[in-house]
Structures are given as structure tokens and as C-alpha cells.
């Protein structure tokens, strides 16, 4: 029997010359992506860590057995009930936003498995599709058991089928990145930027926090997923190198575009978890510190290795690490009924920790929490509406998230008049991306435009129904304002 290394290349590198059809017909530019290059340009495509189907099956079987064992021991509702309430809501947030995005990534990978320009690339993408299917199924399975205990876990599957504003934003990102991208755009946007750049933060960083919070099930799940991500993410740099050599401006554009778009999503998901929903005693470091350790250094190094520049908005990005997720969290706290998870009101100890971690900007943000705290004191517990907004909020016409760029002193929103319509953006990079591809984005209706068109209600209670929320499932303060520290001093 041949040894693995004696036959692997024959299985991976199974390309041939076409005799009765043109290469452009087999791999049309519309589905394979541009720049369109003959296979000669791709024939040296290689992934650093190669695997065989037999290796893949054996490895995945072992990982599945491990997840199953932890689930049987620690994956039941009574195990989750013992965890900190803030952490449980962090799990609800991730449980909703990830699984069906992973399912969309199955489609992106399968397109690359057919239309990627080298057989080794197609082979790696086929494994990637199997990975993403697994990443869909595991959280759906684990969270399903928790629904009878807490109906908000139903949003694990419901989220992407709703008109909730966060779902609209997530679909706007993932529909383009994962469902509509050609294999080149997918490799650079999803495999390189999203997975190489950010998934480490999401999965490695959060698994460490899960361990610290005592949530071994979540820790096991994200670690198991991350090992898959690390393997198929290697498609990205391998494709990017070829595109940089042929069309560096386009490669730079894709990196700049998807880095900013990915950043906003991760800032909300991971920033909320790390700086607000994880109990103070379980926090190892701030979101900013995680970004610096897991994203900034590695991403800049990787960009330099492939011959690209840092995105043009890098200074703005560094500034937004200090403020963006704080701006969104404070805003979302006061519109908590519009989402499917509950919020923590940061108390004196949490605010002191945030001041220590964000010394440059926290003084701008703290008055907002002082005001909210004061309103809770005046209303007493259970009077949620006294710290809740009712006026419609504005949404960015690119990322579809709330207009929370900049600082409380100076909001970074940008406006644009185009073809008789007014548009607004949370930031200069969002405006820039929109202008680069306005024909793609101009007709998308954010929540405000749906309200103005009569397609969504303006009244908050009616809007919550439009979002798919009920009194049982909409977000609340985790103690409904009954914090022991709130009644003191």
C-alpha cells in the first residue's frame, strides 16, 4: 500500500487540459471570479497543511466524540443554570449569530469547491464546506435543549429568519460575503480577513473566557470549531498571494473592505461579551487587549508577508477599538427590548475596570452610564421603560448597524446625497465602501427606510413584533434593575 505522501499529491492535484471545451467555459469569470487567470497561473497553488479525506474523517470523528462526551457531562440545562447570568446572555448572542452564518459559509465553500481555479484549492474548500456544516449543527444541537428553560435560546435558529435589526445587519454582511461571493472574493474576504483575521479573536479568546466563567461546554464547542477554521482559513493567503501578484489594487480593496465590515460585527459580538457580559471575576483582559494580541499584530504581519498595506483607515480603526463597542453597548442597553438577549448594567466595579482599561476614552462614555444608573435609582426595579428609548434609531446604510461611530463628543456619521436620495453612514470607511459599490448597496432598505416606506411600524411595541420578539423573548436588564449596589449609597 502506498504511503500517504506518495499518493496525496495525485489526489490533490488532479487538474487536466481540456480538449473539447475552453477553460473559460469550465471556469467562467462570473462564477470563478476575477482577475481571471489561466490555470497555468494557479498550478502551484498549495495549502501549507495538507490533509487527506481519511485523515479528515479520523480527526473529525475524534473531535465529535470529545464534544459529545462533554455534552453528556456538562451540556444540560441544569449545567447552564449554574452559570453567571451575564455570561449566559453572551452565549445567547453568539448562539444566534453564528450557526446559520456558518451554514451560509457552506455555500461559499461549495462554490469554491467547484469553481476554485486549482484542484488542491477545490479539495481544501470541500473540506471547508464539511467543516461549516458541522459548525452549524453543533450549536443548533447544544442550544436546542435549552429552549424549554429559556425561550431566548430559540433565537439560535430563529435569528436569521427574523427582521430584527441585528439580523438585518448580519444578513447584509453574510449574504454578500458567504452566499454571493465568487471563490476569489470568498477566499480573501472570508478565509483570509474574516477567519484568519478575526476568528481567532472570537473563538480562541472567547473559549478562554468561557473556561474562566466555568462554561466548559461552550469552551469545548468553540475550540472544536476553531481547529477546523484554522485549517480551511489557510485557503485565504494561498489565493491572496496570486491576486496580489496580478492585481494588487483589487486585492488591497477586498482586504480593506472586508476588514472594516468584519471589524464592526466582531466588535459588537466579542466586545459585548468581553467587556460587559462576562462577569468581572472571569475577565482575563479587555476587548481592546484581545484585539491587540490576537488581531492587530498577526494581521499586520500577514499583510506585510503577502505584500499589502494596512487599510487606509488604520488610524480610525485604532481609535474605534477604544470606543465603538462601548457606544453600541450603551445604545443597545437603552434599546434592549429590540434584541433577544438580556443586558448587564455595569456597576461601580465594572465601570472602574473599564476606566482602567480604556483610559483615553472612558471619561466620554461614563456620563451615559451615570445617567442610566441615576434613572434606575429614581424608578426602582422592574420599571424597564424608564431607561429605555422609544424613538426610532438611525442605521448605517452600509453596515446596517446603529450610528455609533466616533465618540459621544463627536459622532462620526457621514452623509451622502446620491441620485436624489439621502444616505447616512456610521463612519468614513462605511461611506467609502458604499461609494465604491453603490449599485450593489443603494437599494437596500434599512429599518428607517422600511418605516418611512410603510413596510415596518414606527411604534416601538409594534416594531418589536416586526422584529419577531415577544414580551417573553425580548431583551431586559438581567436583574430588571435590582442590583444590590444600585440600592446602596
Amino acid at each position: 500500500m502506498l504511503k500517504r505522501d506518495d499518493w496525496l499529491d495525485l489526489a490533490r492535484k488532479l487538474d487536466w487540459d481540456f480538449s473539447y471545451v475552453e477553460e473559460r467555459d469550465v471556469f467562467p469569470e462570473a462564477t470563478s471570479g476575477n482577475p481571471w487567470l489561466p490555470h497555468e497561473e494557479w498550478k502551484d497553488w498549495n495549502e501549507p497543511y495538507r490533509t487527506t479525506y481519511a485523515d479528515y474523517v479520523a480527526t473529525q470523528h475524534t473531535k465529535e466524540a470529545h464534544v459529545r462526551a462533554v455534552r453528556e457531562t456538562l451540556g444540560h440545562a441544569e449545567d447552564f443554570q449554574k452559570l453567571d447570568a451575564g455570561w449566559i446572555n453572551s452565549v445567547k448572542m453568539h448562539a444566534a449569530t453564528l450557526p446559520l452564518a456558518e451554514f451560509a459559509a457552506v455555500v461559499g465553500n461549495l462554490r469554491a469547491a467547484r469553481f476554485g481555479r486549482d484542484s488542491a484549492w477545490r479539495n481544501a474548500a470541500a473540506f471547508g464546506a464539511l467543516d461549516e456544516l458541522r459548525h452549524t449543527q453543533i450549536p443548533l444541537l447544544l442550544m436546542h435543549e435549552l429552549i424549554p428553560w429559556n425561550v431566548q435560546f430559540d433565537w439560535t435558529h430563529k435569528f436569521y429568519h427574523s427582521n430584527d435589526w441585528v439580523a438585518i445587519a448580519a444578513r447584509h454582511l453574510f449574504d454578500e460575503l458567504l452566499l454571493a461571493s465568487n471563490p476569489i472574493d470568498f477566499a480573501i474576504g472570508a478565509n483570509f480577513v474574516f477567519e484568519t483575521g478575526f476568528t481567532n479573536l472570537q473563538f480562541v479568546g472567547l473559549s478562554a473566557m468561557a473556561r474562566s466563567a466555568g462554561d466548559r461546554m461552550f469552551e469545548t464547542m468553540v475550540k472544536s470549531i476553531q481547529t477546523d477554521e484554522a485549517r480551511h482559513a489557510q485557503i485565504g493567503p494561498a489565493v491572496l498571494r496570486t491576486i496580489v501578484s496580478r492585481d494588487p489594487a483589487y486585492a488591497q480593496y477586498l482586504v480593506d473592505k472586508w476588514f472594516w465590515r468584519s471589524w464592526h460585527l466582531f466588535a459588537v459580538l466579542t466586545g459585548f461579551s468581553m467587556d460587559y457580559l462576562t462577569p468581572l471575576s472571569s475577565r482575563k483582559s479587555s476587548f481592546k487587549e484581545f484585539m491587540q494580541e490576537w488581531v492587530l499584530d498577526q494581521f499586520q504581519r500577514t499583510l506585510a508577508e503577502v505584500g499589502l498595506q494596512r487599510p487606509w483607515y488604520w488610524e480610525q480603526f485604532l481609535e474605534s477599538i477604544e470606543t465603538y463597542h462601548h457606544m453600541v453597548y450603551a445604545s443597545a442597553y437603552t434599546y434592549r427590548a429590540t434584541v433577544w438577549f438580556d443586558f448587564v448594567l455595569p456597576g461601580p466595579e465594572e465601570r472602574a475596570w473599564l476606566r482602567e482599561k480604556y483610559p483615553k476614552t472612558w471619561d466620554l462614555l461614563d456620563p451615559v452610564w451615570a445617567r442610566i444608573t441615576d434613572r434606575w435609582r429614581r424608578s426602582g426595579p422592574r420599571v424597564e421603560w424608564y431607561t429605555h428609548g422609544v424613538t426610532p434609531v438611525g442605521f448605517c446604510n452600509l453596515c446596517q448597524l446603529v450610528l455609533c461611530g466616533g465618540t459621544p463628543r463627536c459622532n462620526a456619521a457621514q452623509t451622502l446625497a446620491l441620485d436624489g436620495n439621502n444616505y447616512i453612514f456610521c463612519s468614513e470607511p462605511c461611506l467609502w465602501i458604499f461609494q465604491k459599490e453603490s449599485e450593489r448597496y443603494a437599494n437596500h432598505k434599512d429599518v428607517v427606510k422600511r418605516i418611512l416606506a410603510g413596510e415596518a411600524p414606527a411604534n416601538l411595541l409594534e416594531l418589536l413584533k416586526y422584529f419577531g420578539l415577544t414580551q417573553e423573548s425580548w431583551g431586559k436588564d438581567i436583574t430588571v434593575g435590582a442590583y444590590p449596589w444600585l440600592s446602596g449609597d
Binding site: H326, G389, T415, V448, I451, L452
Partner: protein
């Protein structure tokens, strides 16, 4: 006529959509936005409204000030 405006109150964390009538005064735009953001920012006595970098006369109507649908307005609480 109803005029929806994107309103940004200095000190606040997000932009809101303020619905005003074109015959209402600019000063009412400021009051409306402060009221909408009151759970995050305490209202102030002296608020100034800016649009496209220019300070608007609070006594003008929304229409006379040239505000149209989905314009951005900024409300700044002046000290004193």
C-alpha cells in the same frame, strides 16, 4: 409635512431619527431630540442646532431652515 431627521445629540452614543413637522421650529427639533435621548443624556437649558456645519436660527421653522428628509442635524448643549 412630516420631515424625518437624523439627530445627533452631543454626549449621546448614537444617532436617532426625529420626526418633526416642517412648520415646527428648529428649537423644537432640539427639544425633541433631547427628550428622545433623556435616558442617556441629561437635557440642557441652552441647545444649539447645527446642519452642514452651520448654526440654525432656533426661531426658524424646519422648512425655512432648509431642512429636508433624512438630513443630519447636530444638537449641542452650550455651557452657561
Amino acid at each position: 409635512m412630516l420631515v424625518p431627521l437624523y439627530g445627533f445629540l452631543q454626549g449621546d452614543t448614537l444617532g436617532l431619527v426625529v420626526l418633526v413637522q416642517d412648520h415646527e421650529l428648529v428649537s423644537e427639533v432640539a427639544a425633541r431630540l433631547q427628550d428622545a435621548a433623556t435616558m442617556r443624556v441629561a437635557p440642557g437649558a441652552h441647545a444649539t442646532v447645527y446642519c452642514r456645519g452651520k448654526q440654525l436660527d432656533p426661531a426658524l421653522t424646519v422648512a425655512a431652515a432648509g431642512l429636508t428628509a433624512l438630513d443630519r442635524v447636530d444638537v449641542v448643549m452650550e455651557k452657561g
